[in-house]
């Protein structure tokens, strides 16, 4: 193979380098195992291999051509060495793992796909159902004013209705919102009917932490205001929701209730029969027709427009759906819990 380099000019030299590269690539593609790889190494990268030979002949190249040829040679060296290393590593691995017998029952090289928190997943399901019914999705602040959280929602300043929700106060006028209902007010202040939206978010209650209650939880609020919104439509919409969420054969009922910001007000129960336990009615959401005072507070004429609103707790819904009986586990974020969903 050794040719009479020094009589060749730069063109021939570059050509030779390119040829060597080509022939290396070709040989490389034929290498099948560690033995043939070693042959390749000796041929090209050995002390007396083709690449070394080319470097040796650099001394015969004229001074003005040297930088150019030198560079080309460097590239060749980097290219061959790195390709060689890469293949070597691969072959060694392959040999280790599957010398002659391919054991496909070995655990595959898994890639982990993470997951959303179970509360987010539950909310996603809820959002999907309501999106399908033409609802938008709005969010609002967690640190709220008394006005949005209570006053605008028709809670009189000194009324015992305020005791229904144990409140964390920041000042006497600011608080951690106790429900997502203030987002209703914010939305109605900004946009005129027709308005159809759900409003998910975090809410806070000053309740002792136990298996049944935590200092914060998540709610989804719903609101629909237009010229002909009725209680019958509220019922129809919520029934469609619970059937889709819990199953078409779910048993449900509506019973009268009280919320300052809706009238008539209702609560919806579903029949819950955990495995091996006696069935019972469980409250799943609160709802009602938007109270005319609330509409007046945001400048909507209650004679012309009517509306309905509803709100449900996501924790409760998720716990029911997945059979979780201690709310605290939702906020422990134990990996053994997170990876289950």
């Amino acid at each position: 193979m050794r040719a009479d380099w020094h009589v060749l000019g730069i063109v021939a030299m570059i050509e030779k380098i390119n040829e060597t590269r080509k022939s290396f690539d070709e040989d490389l593609s034929k290498v099948e195992n560690v033995t043939t790889l070693e042959d390749l190494r000796i041929k090209f990268l050995g002390r007396k291999g083709l690449v070394s030979q080319l470097f040796e002949s650099l001394k015969d190249v004229s001074k003005e051509d040297k930088p150019k040829v030198g560079q080309a040679l460097n590239q060749l060296k980097i290219h061959t060495q790195s390709k060689f290393d890469e293949l070597k590593e691969k072959l060694e691995k392959d040999q280790m793992s599957s010398d002659e017998f391919v054991d496909l029952t070995l655990p595959g090289r898994k890639r982990i796909i993470g997951s959303k928190h179970i509360l987010t997943q539950t909310l996603d399901e809820i959002k999907d159902i309501f999106r399908g019914l033409g609802f938008s999705i709005y969010e609002g602040p967690e640190l709220e004013s008394d006005y949005y959280n209570f006053e605008a929602l028709n809670f009189a300043p000194d009324h015992p209705a305020r005791d229904m929700q144990d409140t964390f106060f920041v000042t006497d006028k600011f608080l951690l919102r106790t429900h997502t209902s203030p987002v209703q007010i914010r939305l109605m202040e900004k946009k005129k009917p027709p308005l159809r939206a759900i409003m998910p978010g975090k809410v806070f209650r000053n309740e002792a932490i136990s298996a049944k209650s935590y200092c914060l939880f998540h709610q989804v609020e719903g609101l629909y205001v237009d010229t002909d919104v009725t209680f019958a439509e509220l019922k129809g919409t919520l029934v469609a929701f619970v059937k889709q969420f819990f199953g078409q054969d779910i048993k449900y009922r509506f019973r009268a209730s009280f919320f300052p910001f809706t009238e008539p007000s209702a609560e919806m129960d579903i029949w819950w029969e955990p495995k091996g336990k006696q069935g019972r009615w469980m409250e799943i959401l609160g709802c009602g027709m938007v109270d005319p005072n609330v509409l007046i507070n945001v400048g909507i004429d209650p004679e012309k427009y009517t509306g309905y609103a509803f709100g449900m707790g996501i924790e409760r819904t998720a716990m029911r759906k997945y059979g979780i009986d201690d709310i605290r586990i939702l906020f422990d974020n134990d990996k053994r819990f997170l990876t289950q969903f």
């Binding site: 560079q71 987010t120 959002k127 000194d158 951690l176 209680f231 019922k235 509506f254 422990d332």
Partner: protein, 801 residues
């Protein structure tokens, strides 16, 4: 609130209605029955037994062998009581009964060789008292075989009803009876009051002066003299016990009875202890201290409403009476108070003092101003019946601020508009009438009604519509089967965050949700924290200023259960005060949305195909790059190392988009790891989502796929260790024409042979042109310029030359 069905029967006839029906109807109508306590149930299989004969047990001295008849059969029963004897009527618990006290289930048993079919019960075993000396011997006139519960009139069912705060009117047996009369179309009957009054008038024996008519619009007083304080009769004690009250004496018990009968709280004063025999209703005034019935000293605010005599306070109005005027065993003469107080005033006082009583609970919800006189008379009637005495003629009725009944109108069309369903006009009228709304006028379009004085929750048409709907039954209103979807713009505030979650999930991260409340120490470490006025505990006294503590707590908890390899993220709000002054406005604080991404432990652990590999800062920056290219497509984000002593991180960096900082990250400093008890490295980056959301992303446009070949050139430089790859790449970019399409760093090498503080960086340069094949020369020219620049600027050498 506890409601006894037997008691309800005094006002409405429920004999033919099952408890289940009552429970259902009340619950549907908004008076949710939470618990049903069927008292007869615990006496199941316990009957009146007749002891036919008693013999000594053949094998035991202290036991007897009895023959007990249950009205049909004779049973052989072993009994250990000394007082058992033939001819007695006893409580006979048959096989299958569960002993009320202790819950033991009776089975056929052999006792010292003799079979016993049941048990004769003691008072204690029946749960009726403490006596366990012997069996309870019953009235001999009781017929054997009768169920014990029925014979002893312990067949009551007590409902626990959750009354919503608007329904003050339902906080009594008559209130619930009124509701049932509407729900089942029954007649409601108030008890008759025929008083035997004699002697002086109440007004002559005592007087009332109201100095704050706003907070006390009406005060009725009635005098009963010469009473005998003693234990209440059984019927009264039974009524009170059925709703969970402890009987005290006949007078106090009567006042409690009337409260639970009609909802009007009463107070009985010992008239002889009232200075000047006068009641003055006034504000407490400055620095008032007062000892209440429970012997506790209370400090009052100057505007708390007090009931006083001519020289001292005698009760906190509507909340609790005082020790100095309570009814004692020696009390002879009574003044019965039946007042109507302003609900806000009572609520304020009750909250301020932290006292919640049956009385304050009702007053703060609003009682019936018109029932006051009736209630005083009813109490007088019952006091006379149980304590004797002389009822003075008439009542003192101080009513300085008359509360007039109001009217409201209802349009039938509006009922249909709200409900989406037509309820018969006659049904509407009937429901309202049954609930006590007096119909004033009827026109074609609707009706006008007088609002009963006990319904403070009803003022408007919508309130009447709710009454009609809930009594009619929500479940009878049909659900619509189709809805109209309006076509206004649809908005989704949550879409951006949802995309973030999905990208991070695909990069192996799990979402967590942590507590937004932190301790002061932790919260202040990360920002100007906002504190709660009424925290639950010092652990949760401040709003979080950062997502970091929640995440570190999560990691710490996971390490404890040996979960050491974690990739987690949280999306959430953090809160900070703008300055140290109080929060009076939304401008005084920030509520910003943050994303925190963290890794700790190993990327690869215990795998057969690869050696263990712990996460390092390059894993973090890699995830950040992958994530940002997805979330901010075609937008260049620069990562700059920063060296700040303030930083929470070693190897800390900032992410810049144009000149805005969008995030900070690095390896968590040791001091923070120690604080949270972490013994392994944690890498994290937090991103300000409000900034991220503000970056406008241009519309994605398709890039033509290349039709011409790419040309590659590899080059390796040896240069000083502290020169960054980004610097070199920038230099290369600047030196080349736009033929340079991409640069990739593919090798880093450090060794003694390169020289101390030197490293080698190897790059692959990718050249191309979208419209033609490149010539060797033009590529070579760019390539050479690039090398020259790097050599010159960084004093670099080509490696291998």
């Amino acid at each position: 609130m506890k409601i006894s069905i037997n008691w309800l029967n005094d006002y409405v006839d429920l004999k033919n209605i099952s408890v289940d029906e009552i429970v259902d109807k009340l619950t549907y109508a908004g008076l949710e029955v939470e618990e049903v306590d069927d008292q007869a149930k615990k006496f199941e299989n316990i009957v009146i037994g007749y002891v036919k004969e008693v013999k000594k047990h053949p094998n035991a001295d202290k036991l007897s062998l009895c023959k007990v008849n249950d009205g049909k059969d004779d049973f052989s029963v072993v009994c250990g009581a000394p007082n058992v004897s033939a001819g007695q009527k006893v409580a006979f618990a048959k096989v299958g009964a569960v002993i009320p006290n202790g819950g033991m289930k009776l089975e056929k048993a052999k006792i010292r060789g003799e079979v016993s079919f049941g048990m004769i019960c003691s008072e204690r075993e029946l749960g009726l008292g403490d006596n366990h000396e012997g069996i309870r011997v019953l009235d001999p006139s009781l017929k054997e075989g009768l169920s014990f519960a029925e014979a002893m009139e312990m067949n009551d069912t007590v409902l626990e009803i959750a009354i919503t705060p608007n329904r003050a009117d339902a906080l009594s047996h008559i209130g619930i009876a009124r509701e049932l009369s509407a729900l089942f179309d029954l007649q409601l009957k108030y008890p008759d009051i025929n008083l035997k009054e004699s002697g002086k008038k109440s007004e002559e024996l005592a007087s009332v002066e109201i100095r704050n008519p706003n907070n006390c619009p009406r005060y009725v007083g009635k005098v009963v003299s010469n009473v005998g304080i003693k234990e209440s009769p059984d019927w009264l004690k039974k009524r009170l016990k059925s709703v969970g009250l402890r009987p005290i004496n006949n007078v106090v018990d009567v006042t409690n009875f009337v409260l639970h009968e009609v909802g009007q709280p009463l107070h009985a004063f010992d008239l002889d202890n009232l200075g000047g025999r006068k009641i003055i209703v006034r504000d407490a005034g400055k620095d008032t201290k007062f000892i209440t019935l429970d012997s506790k000293e209370r400090k009052l605010q100057s505007n708390d409403l007090m009931i006083c005599d001519t020289n001292k306070p005698v009760a906190i109005a509507g909340v609790m009476g005082g020790e100095n005027s309570e009814v004692t065993s020696s009390t002879k003469n009574l003044l019965i108070e039946s007042a109507y107080f302003n609900s806000s005033s009572i609520r304020r006082t009750s909250k301020q003092l932290g006292i919640l009583t049956d009385a304050s609970y009702r007053f703060e919800r609003g009682t019936d101003p018109e029932i006051t006189k009736w209630a005083a008379r009813r109490a007088a009637q019952l006091i006379q019946a149980t304590a004797g005495g002389i009822i003075a003629k008439g009542e003192i009725d101080a009513y300085p601020k008359r509360i007039n009944k109001k009217k409201a109108s209802l349009r039938y069309s509006r009922v249909e508009k709200i409900l989406g369903y037509k309820i018969n006009n006659s049904t509407v009228k009937k429901i309202l009438a049954k609930l006590g709304f007096e119909i004033k006028s009827v026109v074609k379009e609707g009706i006008t009604v007088m609002l009963p004085s006990y319904r403070h929750d009803i003022e408007r048409e919508i309130d009447l519509i709710e009454e009609v709907a809930r009594i009619y039954g929500y479940n009878k209103i049909p659900e619509v089967g189709k809805i109209t979807v309006t076509l206004e713009e649809k908005v989704d505030h949550s879409a951006f965050n949802d995309r973030i979650r999905e990208f991070l999930n695909s990069l192996s991260f799990y979402e967590i949700i942590t507590n937004s409340l932190l301790s002061e120490d932790i919260a202040k470490r990360f920002g100007n924290a906002i504190n709660l006025l009424n925290p639950q505990s010092s652990e949760m006294s401040h709003l979080r200023t950062s997502l970091i503590p929640g995440l570190l707590t999560t990691i710490s908890n996971n390490l404890k259960v040996n979960e050491k390899d974690l990739q987690l993220f949280e999306l959430g709000k953090v809160f900070e005060k703008i300055s140290d002054s109080n929060i009076n406005d939304f401008k005084d604080f920030t509520e910003s949305e943050q994303l925190l991404i963290a890794l700790t432990g190993n990327r690869i652990k215990n795998e057969w195909f690869e050696i263990d590999s712990p996460f390092n800062v390059y894993d973090l920056t890699g995830f950040v790059e992958s994530f940002l290219t997805k979330i901010l497509p075609d937008i260049s984000v620069n990562l700059k190392s920063v060296d700040e002593s303030q930083s929470k991180f070693d190897n800390s960096f900032r992410l810049y988009c144009e000149n805005q900082i969008i995030g900070l990250g690095g390896k968590l400093k040791n001091e923070l790891c120690t604080l949270f008890d972490l013994d392994q490295d944690v890498y994290m980056v937090h991103v300000d989502l409000s900034v991220l959301k503000g970056i406008s992303i241009s519309k994605k446009i398709f890039n033509e796929l290349l039709k011409f070949p790419k040309v590659y050139r590899d080059v390796a430089f040896v240069l000083d260790k502290n020169i960054t790859s980004a610097q070199v790449m920038n230099t290369i970019k600047e030196a080349c024409t736009n033929l340079l399409h991409n640069i990739k760093l593919f090798d880093i090498f450090q060794s003694e042979s390169l020289g101390k503080d030197k490293k080698s960086l190897a790059f692959q340069l990718e050249f191309c042109n979208s419209s033609r094949t490149l010539t060797e020369e033009e590529v070579e020219k760019d390539f050479r310029n690039a090398i020259k620049s790097v050599e010159k600027i960084y004093n670099a050498q080509l490696r291998g030359s």
